[in-house]
Amino acid sequence: MLELKHISKYFPGVKALQDISVDFREGEIHAILGENGAGKSTLMKIICGIYQADEGTVVLDGKELHLKGYKDAINSGISIVNQEINLIPDASIAENIILDKMHRFTKAGFVDWKGVHEMASKYLKMVKLDLNPKMPVRHLSAANKQLIQIAKALSSEAKVLMLDEPTSSLTQYEAKILFDLVADLKKQGVIMIFVSHKLEEVQAISDRVTVFRDGCLVGTDTIENMPRDRIVQMMIGRSSSYIYRGRLDAENNEIALEAKNICSKKYGFENLSFQLRRGELLGFYGLVGSGRTELIRTILGVDKMTGGEVYVNGQLAKTTSLSDSLHKYHIGYVTENRKEEGLFLDYSIRMNICMNSLQKDYISPTLPLISSKKESKNAEEYRQKLEIRAPSIDTKVGSLSGGNQQKVSIAKWLSADCDIIIIDEPTVGVDIGAKEYIHRLIWNMAEKEKKAVILISSDMNEMISLARRILIFKDRKIVNELKGEEFFARPGEEISAEIGKSFI
């Protein structure tokens, strides 16, 4: 039995995990659920030794573990199978399985290939794969590759097997093969921890479910006692610390952005429509993959729109590229992956903030040269306004904390004077203080500066304390719309219950 006792983990300014106690039993498939940033991946990393817990202990079969790295975890019988496939494509199946144990099959520098292949065959049989171990991995299907990853984990005599979104790259049929194997391993008494976003999968195969939210364990129970509704309710939570910010009263303002019948082949949605008014804060709420971010990417021209029309200020807008969206229609988009897609980590705060607003920093309108003075002034202004904590505006963005990075990426769009701002998951990985600050910032954009704002978030508190109209996304459809200033003046518990109903 693998027990976690009072595990806590802190990152600068953030409590990533708070007093987590849970046990994983032999012959059990234990699902871990939670939205982005709920703490699942931190927990996984602690179990497999990549992170060390700040408080609490991990106990395996009555023995306390002090893992210093993933290698230690493997030696203790803990293995993880990632969503990305970590195999060497041109090496054979056998080599991939045996890779970390090659020394056992080496005599005087020569590899005992017969032994390697025999051992590989044994584990291939265990995962029910009838393949030649000499075959290179490259040509295998994604499902078979996943199975080989599992075989690799088994070959190190894994007692604990963690599956981190193993089906994300698999077809339904392939996923079925995987689940059959998982059920089989269960009989052999392996402890299995299964992380997934797909509730159907979780319900189909797991025995017990643990739900995380905001670094806390919300509940653990057997699958029988956890119907889908209850899981969703637990994941999205009830708003307790909800601050009511007041009214926006934007119902009668002019329409800034209108999407009519948007279709996308890539994401598989059809005829999605919405309107956004000046001074309004519109929320897109839904689980990851429900279509909220995908709709925005399609409208802005990042991905291809196969049908529908976009109107900006009442005019038909051809948003075929982000460049047009920004420069012609003044739409700003604060992305969800700020590190990969939003920021230039190697560059200074100054360069990042001024990236989209360089014309503001010209020496004069007739002389399009960037004035260092104006640029510094501009960057300095936003640094102070947004309270970005850094020694100077010449500090590299990559060295800032998550919250401050997020402030920089918002500052970039504020500085660009966009009329319409779309903000995707603004506070994932951001510490509490910065979170509240960023919320105030977003609120002020709509209330004071009368910008049209779309907030995409899976954080319930954030959503209901900011948005004054919420579109609920489920399975790439807009399933509900919650509106009315009075509605949002109600207690947080009631609003979140109302939102929860939309998912049933």
């Binding site: 920004l326 990969e340 230039f344 989209n356 360089l358 010449d394």
Partner: protein
């Protein structure tokens, strides 16, 4: 001249605590190149009589200047994380076209220069267009195109040298005070690059693409357009280098450029410019050109054993660049 980057000041030092100017200098990525120049200067001037002679400095400044243009051709694509293996081939093609226009069509110097640079630009547009459209590595595209350009160059010239216009060599041979006209051109070029990357929006767009292409695209920068621009500028610099080289050596043959590709990478790397994109330091770039030129010149000056010359060249380059790793270690300790 100051530098234009991003990598700029180290960030981890606590705010308010001032470092001495010397220490701050060591924090800059170009400082190792400056130190290397000083060391080389000291070694060569002590061990040879004529290294610091007026005439040699004049010659050095001319060679370094042309190398700087060759390196600028690589810089323009290195800064967006690309590469141009066709630098030399474009140089060769430009030389031949220039000779063809002057000798066989009797064109004047000015129109020839303009058309040659334009042709260089067209080569770059083709490279950039193919990289964008075929979505292949710049390595493959520019390698293939380098054969094409070289082939055209040899095809037109059949390896024959061309007669240049009367007076065309003035530019390459003009002495200005203690230095050369070419050196002044080099300084102008470095200043232009500095302005481009520091004060022009398009320069910032280029740095953005080099820093993080996805983020640049999501910030509304047209990455494809930036790519074409950089490739065009790259090949234009190669064409300019070809013109200057012809002007300096007084002859135009298709073999010009055959050794440019490696030098262009070497100068960028020695000057502390990351080849995977995103940074540019004017001083580093400037020093890179001088270091390589000084080493090659100094070896001949010192009259080293010809049979081991290449080994010396390699060792000295290695020593020069290892200063950077020494600097990083020292910078780490200072923090």
């Amino acid at each position: 001249m100051s530098k234009v980057t991003n990598e700029a000041r180290q960030t981890n030092r606590p705010a308010g605590k001032q470092l001495s100017p010397l220490k701050r200098f060591f924090m800059e990525p170009y400082s190792s190149a400056v130190v290397a120049i000083v060391l080389l200067l000291a070694v060569f001037s002590i061990s040879t009589d004529s290294f610091l002679s007026q005439y040699n400095l004049f010659n050095l400044s001319r060679t370094a200047s042309i190398y700087a243009f060759i390196a600028a051709a690589q810089l323009m694509v290195a800064v967006i994380g690309g590469m141009n293996l066709a630098v030399g081939a474009v140089g060769s093609l430009s030389t031949v076209l220039m000779g063809e226009m002057m000798q066989n069509y009797g064109w004047g110097t000015v129109p020839t220069v303009i058309v040659t640079i334009l042709v260089g630009g067209i080569c770059g547009v083709i490279n950039g267009f193919l990289i964008n459209k075929l979505k292949l590595q710049p390595f493959v595209i520019t390698l293939a195109m380098s054969f094409v350009y070289n082939g055209i160059s040899v095809g037109i010239s059949h390896g024959m040298p061309y007669e240049l216009n009367e007076g065309f060599d003035a530019l390459g041979r003009q002495q200005v005070g203690p230095t050369s006209m070419l050196f002044i051109l080099m300084v102008i070029m470095v200043v232009v690059l500095l302005i481009f990357f520091r004060y022009l929006r398009v320069g910032r767009d280029v740095l953005a693409v080099g820093g993080n292409a996805t983020a640049a695209a999501l910030s509304g920068i047209k990455v494809d357009r930036v790519n074409i621009l950089c490739n065009t500028a790259s090949c234009m610099f190669a064409a300019i280098a070809a013109l200057l080289w012809a002007s300096r050596s007084g002859s135009a043959t298709s073999t010009t450029g055959s050794d440019w590709m490696l030098y262009s990478f070497a100068i960028c790397a020695i000057g502390g410019i990351r080849l995977n994109g995103g940074n540019f330091t004017a001083i580093g770039f400037f020093c890179g050109a001088w270091i390589l030129t000084m080493i090659r010149n100094g070896l001949t000056m010192m009259n080293v054993d010809i049979y081991y010359e290449q080994a010396f060249l390699g060792v000295i380059i290695l020593l020069a660049v290892s200063l950077e790793s020494l600097r990083l270690k020292m910078a780490e300790q200072m923090k």
